[in-house]
């Protein structure tokens, strides 16, 4: 039997198809539906902003999901407060979600929104500065009470005092319209009001021609056990859509055609989810059980949550008593032959440093995932930054080099996790993977890879003695290295005949016995360094369409999207610029120096005060210039375009 929701989906789908056939054509000729003009856009940036209790992240997620289903390319940026429930209606309590979608491939969540949905005065105040003149501004007028306005310092109502004159303001009583739409339901006022985000979603879905099916399906499964709440949410969603159709406040409807993307099956994915899947895949490809030792910390906890669901894949998750125990347990599991993983953010890395140093000395595989956030100390837990590079590189006592891998986009987190596992298991070393808050929570469409095409990383433990004694008998030397990789054997407990003891005290080269010999220590320090230096990583690729650029923009990690978008803008203006992005920060790709020397100037934008620049200058004596911002937010393409142009004109 077709229920009301199904009929709604069919009707809205019909309206979409009708509208898509030609701008200006009216949709269904249902009674009461006003014909609207349809305007084609190539890209749109929407920002939903409200109180953290207003469900803005959910609204954004749902809009993203239907946008992905429609086939647009997209990129998202959630921005939520660190406090779980900051006081309602205050500036610190504002939660926002920005979505950029387009009919072509895009690289960032966008700079300035084309439309801002402000659910209350605080949301307006916190976000208005980002809104360009002329942009659409949808305001929930119900929340603009004297009390709410004075909470954020509005002495007069911005809706009435003319201060919003240069925007296309749509004042809509979203709360009361929602309550009105739900009056048939047996709901308290508070519960009815809570559905206002679905009303807003319905309205925006109409305005931008979004398919409704995925949201209807989502609500059905989310509220499967609460039919009353489900019906209310569906009704609010439909009422929002119908409001758009009928109100005269919106005279046009917008359309953004699907993007042309490489053929394949796609899904939408956030960095933390892609990273979790990458770890599950790494277990499969190495043939090792995955053991995650972790302690909850923003913004990395989602990886712990996600992996705890995948016991079917032999993934063990251990929520430890602290960060140190998290990495300790992972290292213990690695000693026993598992793919040991620990996940954290910068403050956690600081606590884990000593154990990572032990892993360097023990030369065991270990994945250390740092989802970076603003620092120092507690810093900005929910904001992004990439200021842990030098901590990853040098943040241990003694000479303790470890490889570093940094994904460049949310979807790339999947492959970066597999690459980190490759390095860890082949070279028997802890590997640091540097994600960040922007990648962790940001989403993009992902062409789902063929799992059978993933690299074979099968690990074989050592099971036989590896050293011959003068009398011809054999014994086991735990630090006798593979001549090519310099990796030591991985002989796990339970292997007869290979019993051995290892530890953090310096060991004699080969035998692994305790050694305080000066020459041996010097040799071991150099061997550990040489092992990391010798890790094979792919060459750095340079994107320089003209082949004539004199300026190279070099980045790493999550700045890939904004740098790429900035370079495109510059090129559209007829200038030439080359872009290269480092995924391996230790060791650097072998061709990096040659690439750097090809350009008159190297620009390194980073969300820190110049950490990669310091490494590049120190290693290669290349006079790279930095562009550095630490605002807790990703770079904007426009801002980078300006910086790039300045550098180009200066050479």
């Amino acid at each position: 039997m077709r229920d009301a929701a199904t009929r709604f989906v069919e009707r809205t789908t019909g309206a979409l198809q009708g509208a898509s056939e030609g701008a200006g054509r009216s949709g269904d000729d249902e009674a009461g539906v006003v014909s609207k003009q349809v305007v084609q856009l190539d890209r749109v940036i929407i920002r939903f902003a409200g109180d953290s209790g207003d469900g803005m992240q959910l609204t954004g997620d749902r809009f993203t999901s239907s946008t992905a289903a429609f086939g647009n390319d997209l990129s998202t940026l959630p921005d939520f407060p660190a406090e779980i429930r900051a006081p309602a209606g205050t500036l610190p309590g504002v939660s926002a979600f920005q979505l950029h979608f387009a009919d072509h491939d895009i690289m960032t969540p966008g700079d300035a929104p084309n439309v801002l949905v402000a659910m209350n005065p605080a949301a307006l105040k916190a976000n208005l500065k980002d809104l360009p003149r002329g942009a659409d501004l949808i305001v929930n007028t119900d929340e603009f009470t004297k009390r709410n306005m004075s909470k954020v310092g509005y002495e007069t109502s911005p809706l009435e005092d003319g201060s919003l004159e240069s925007y296309a303001v749509h004042p809509i009583p979203l709360t009361s319209l929602t309550v009105e739409a739900l009056k048939e339901f047996d709901l308290g006022k508070k519960e009815a009001e809570r559905a206002k985000n679905m009303f807003a979603l319905g309205l925006l879905s109409w305005l931008y021609h979004r398919p409704t099916e995925s949201t209807v399906e989502f609500l059905k499964s989310k509220f499967a056990k609460k039919p009353e709440i489900l019906a209310a949410n569906l009704a609010a969603f439909e009422a929002g859509w119908a409001f758009g159709e009928t109100t005269e406040d919106f005279s046009v409807q917008y359309e953004v055609k699907p993007a042309t993307m490489t053929a394949g099956t796609y899904r939408n994915i956030t960095g933390n989810l892609a990273l979790s899947y990458g770890l599950v895949a790494a277990g499969r490809q190495t043939g090792l059980p995955v053991f995650l030792g972790s302690y909850p910390i923003t913004p990395a906890s989602d990886i712990l949550h996600e992996l705890s669901k995948h016991k079917k894949f032999g993934v063990t998750t251990f929520q430890a008593e602290d960060e140190i125990a998290g990495v300790g347990a992972a290292l213990g599991a690695a000693y026993g032959g598992a793919l040991g993983v620990t996940t954290t953010s910068g403050p956690g890395i600081a606590l884990k440093s000593e154990t990572i140093g032990l892993a360097v000395a023990l030369e065991l595989p270990l994945l250390v995932i740092d989802v970076q956030r603003g620092g120092p100390s507690t810093g900005l837990p929910t904001k992004t930054e990439q200021a842990d590079l030098l901590q990853a590189m040098f943040g241990r006592n003694g000479e303790a080099p470890i490889p570093i891998v940094a994904p460049s986009s949310p979807a790339d987190c999947f492959h970066a996790a597999i690459e980190a596992a490759r390095i860890a298991t082949v070279y028997r070393t802890p590997v640091m993977l540097l994600s960040d808050g922007y990648l962790a929570n940001g989403a993009e469409p992902w062409r789902i890879p063929d799992v059978d095409a993933l690299p074979d990383l099968t690990v074989r433990y050592t099971t036989e003695p590896n050293h011959e004694l003068p009398d011809g008998s054999k014994d086991f030397w735990p630090y006798l290295r593979d001549p090519k990789t310099l990796a030591r054997p991985w002989a796990v407990p339970g292997t007869p005949g290979l019993e051995h003891r290892i530890g953090g005290i310096e060991k004699a080269d080969g035998t692994g016995a305790i050694s305080y010999d000066p020459a041996n220590h010097d040799k071991m320090v150099r061997l550990r360094q040489a092992k990391v230096d010798g890790i094979e990583v792919p060459d750095l690729e340079v994107d320089d369409p003209s082949g004539e650029a004199r300026v190279l923009v070099l980045g790493w990690g999550s700045t890939y999207g904004p740098i790429g978008a900035g370079c495109r803008r510059v090129r559209r203006e007829g200038l030439t610029v080359a872009q290269a992005h480092l995924r391996h920060l230790n060791p650097f790709p072998a061709n990096l120096e040659a690439v750097l020397r090809r350009y008159d100037k190297v620009l390194i934008p980073e969300m820190n005060l110049g950490q990669l620049a310091l490494l590049i200058r120190g290693r290669f004596l290349v006079d790279a210039v930095g562009y550095n911002q630490v605002r807790g937010l990703p770079f904007k393409a426009e801002e980078l375009a300006g910086v790039i142009k300045d550098v180009i004109t200066s050479v």
């Binding site: 895949a281 079917k312 430890a320 339970g494 290892i502």
Partner: protein
């Protein structure tokens, strides 16, 4: 003297492979020169462990010793098994990862009073509450030996050391009370020099399903010599030591003339048996679910004089181990076959681009 209590539980070593070959203490010795100070109590404990392990009959390669930092933590180098000499205080955490992922191993943690109660206190209490299959041997010498003689978290108040020239002022931990407070399922105390008691205690610990904490009073003859002499001296020990035996009245003294009874205020007290009669004595029940009486027993001793110090198994109760339960969850999840990675990463919300 004491028998192993049958708890009707999965036995800790049931999944650890055994060997047919008859082992001796010699099989567990390594070629490493033992580097403790001559006369150190650690030698006796090492010899005790090496002499005891053969009776378990486990495959040597399936035994792992993991230690932290300190004099005692050198121990793994001298055991011809697998071993890790890790970092200060972290051995329980590292051993937890190993024990949880490898049910086929018998995992032992070697630690000291500084290692486990100071820098590693957090890991110790959490290992105890979780009940991971670890056998923790806590060598308590009431001093920092490796760093040359500072007071430790078990040193008595007033201890004069290099770092406390006017005497230490902070109250010490009683490791047994601490472990019982964390609701450890197996808590025992023994003494380095009493080989028979040491081995008997190790035996019960080895078979215990879950975490076993064994505090071993260990003499540091360099920095805290004679710390446990009242419990060792043939003239005093019978009057100071209370030997706990499950199921037996708690009675001690050279002539068996003293015993433990419940006091009116609910605590325990030491009395002359003649005054109260033998029937009034408390019968030791290591298997009591409630740790209160065991805790009260741990409070009997005087931290300075060591008068009335109980040794033996304070608590030995059955509770499913953490690692068994982790594996049960994994097994349940995998009972319909392994996961399908392609299905997992595709999720439920996909679209096609042609």
């Amino acid at each position: 003297m004491s028998e192993t209590v049958d708890l009707g539980m999965p036995e800790a070593l049931s999944q650890v492979p055994r060997t047919e070959v008859k082992q001796s203490a010699k099989d567990f010795k390594t070629d490493q020169e033992v580097r403790w100070c001559p006369g150190c109590g650690d030698y006796a404990i090492l010899a005790g462990v090496q002499s005891f392990l053969p009776e378990l009959g486990l495959a040597r390669e399936n035994i792992v010793f993991i230690s932290g930092i300190g004099c005692s933590s050198r121990f793994p180098y001298y055991m011809n098994t697998y071993g890790v000499h890790s970092i200060h205080g972290r051995a329980p955490a590292i051993a937890t990862g190993l024990a949880v992922s490898r049910p086929d191993l018998s995992v032992w943690v070697i630690t000291g009073d500084g290692d486990s109660l100071s820098i590693g206190g957090n890991h110790l209490i959490h290992a105890l509450r979780r009940n991971v299959n670890l056998k923790i041997l806590l060598f308590n010498n009431r001093i920092y030996g490796l760093t040359k003689g500072q007071y430790s978290p078990t040193s008595e108040v007033g201890k004069i050391t290099k770092s406390t020239p006017l005497g230490s002022i902070d109250n010490p931990f009683n490791p047994i009370s601490l472990a019982l407070g964390a609701e450890a399922t197996f808590v025992a105390r023994t003494i380095d020099s009493d080989r028979k008691h040491l081995v008997d205690t190790l035996r019960q610990a080895a078979h215990h399903e879950g975490t076993a904490l064994v505090e071993i009073y260990q003499n540091c003859n360099i920095f805290n010599d004679g710390a446990f002499d009242p419990l060792k001296d043939a003239n005093t020990r019978d009057d100071e030591l209370i030997r706990l035996v499950h199921g037996e009245p708690i009675r001690f003294g050279s002539d068996g003339g003293r015993g433990v009874v419940r006091a009116a205020d609910g605590t325990l007290e030491v009395v002359d048996v003649a005054a109260v009669g033998a029937d009034a004595l408390l019968v030791h029940d290591a298997t009591a679910e409630d740790p209160s009486v065991a805790f009260a027993l741990s409070r009997l001793s005087d931290p300075v004089t060591l008068d009335d110090t109980p040794i033996g198994v304070f608590r030995n109760v059955a509770r499913p181990s953490y690692d068994q339960q982790v594996r049960a969850q994994l097994d349940t999840a995998a009972k319909d076959g392994p996961g399908d990675l392609a299905a997992l990463i595709a999720g439920s919300d996909t679209w096609q681009v042609a």
